[in-house]
Symmetry: C2
């Protein structure tokens, strides 16, 4: 049986389909919950847009999710987390999590040598969000932007010669880190090829799993009671719904209704 | 002074910003004309979508451009040209050009050995549109999909180590062709790196220039009369206008008004 507190949906958003890896991790940890997912596919990708622009997008989408009844919001996008937190969390009346902080916490627990790496989009890496937080915890940090990794995944090339080539290109020059943070929600889909390049001795941190654990620890989660169904997911997309479904196939597909929204801005009375 | 016939705009469309290379070539050949450009950025990319889906998009956009007064339409997208022509041209009451046929014609004129190559998105190459037409003209054909080339351009990596790596990956195994068709509107932006890989002895055909020449030869073009301005361009985008402007910077930028359209389907009375 669901508790009262569990009847409010959790909002999750990303610039596109990448955040579906976070949604999947959340549903594993909090299966009884309903979810509202926003894929801002009309404005994807965020990774190379100016920080102020991305901050504004995050603001609008959080407002949209609150208007739809979300009691908490997970920013399932590293670029948007880096650009808008902690300011957004300070100013909004509901709990808001990003993927950066949980990834940093997980890396701190795993590293033994204190030398960690982080990879992400250019926007995430240039923001310094991971590096600043990791250094504040006393760690040495190596950071590398991998702008083509997202496209490998979305082109269905996660297991390809191109993926091998590019993984070597981006990772071969790394110093002797013992922990690598996947600072982009698409990257868990590239874990096989990244693992082959960094070897079995390097710990790999997925922000998707790290944030899901943190949300469960905060909100609490009941298992699904016998005879009850898992929670529902509704997807709101700003671009084309059929295109979204198609691209999402590369990430494992979409469950639930897809609703096209023309604008995320609040309706004017 | 413009002639009567020149007062109707020419419609141009692409899945995104790639067709701006075609628009640029058209404005060079027919500078006095007004242009209506549709960037279907809510549904970009077309390259890996099913043929029937892309054919439907091309149909809708052509209808949209006709409703806005276009007297002719250039499909500035290889995937859409391959999927929808010649059928669309047969069924519409105005002239419609794609980029495939002009590219094929140009290659036929340039090749001396009769052995040509074509590179494009997976959708374009898998459609066989170039290969079939080139073989029908008696040529031997080598075809290669380069799914990451578009992303190199849009990520601002046209001149980068990644571009070198991938150009070698896609092109090093080519047979001894003497002519290479750039079968994607983004690829002219990669001409430097492609040139370095294929060497000075290989002729490179840009479909953008080839179609612009064909349109001028058909519609005729007057130079701009003294005291008159070049024609206006209006951009209609299905995704976000600011994002479009931002991505278009990688292609040389946008001139003219950008109008966000929520739907390309005809308004229901």
């Amino acid at each position: 049986m669901r508790t009262e507190a569990e009847q409010h949906p959790i909002g999750v958003f990303d610039s596109g389909v990448g955040g579906l890896t976070v949604l999947k991790a959340l549903r594993k940890e909090l299966p009884a919950r309903d979810y509202l997912y926003v894929g801002d596919t009309a404005r994807v990708p965020y990774g190379r847009k100016p920080r102020e622009m991305v901050e504004q997008f995050a603001w609008e989408i959080t407002q949209f999710l609150m208007d739809k009844g979300a009691e908490a919001v997970v920013i399932a996008c590293n670029t948007a987390s880096a650009a808008s937190l902690p300011r957004l969390a300070d100013e909004m009346p509901i709990p808001i999590w990003g993927v950066v902080e949980p990834g940093v916490n997980a890396a701190c627990k795993l590293t033994r040598t204190g030398h960690v790496g982080v990879i992400g989009t250019r926007g995430t890496i240039d923001s310094g969000a991971y590096q600043d937080r990791l250094r504040a915890r006393g760690l040495r940090v190596w950071a590398q932007a991998c702008p083509l990794f997202v496209h490998l995944v979305e082109e269905g090339l996660a297991e390809s010669e191109e993926a091998e080539l590019l993984a070597h290109h981006y990772l071969d020059a790394r110093p002797p880190i013992d922990t690598l943070i996947l600072g982009c929600t698409h990257y868990p889909l590239l874990e096989n090829v990244i693992r082959r390049v960094v070897g079995p001795e390097t710990a790999i941190v997925s922000s998707a799993e790290a944030v899901a654990t943190m949300v469960r620890e905060t909100l609490g989660a009941a298992p699904i009671a016998p005879g009850h169904q898992p929670g529902k997911v509704t997807h709101f997309v700003t671009g084309d719904a059929a295109s979204y479904r198609h691209t999402a196939h590369q990430i494992g597909g979409v469950e639930g209704e897809i609703v096209k929204v023309d604008s995320l801005a609040p309706a004017v009375a």
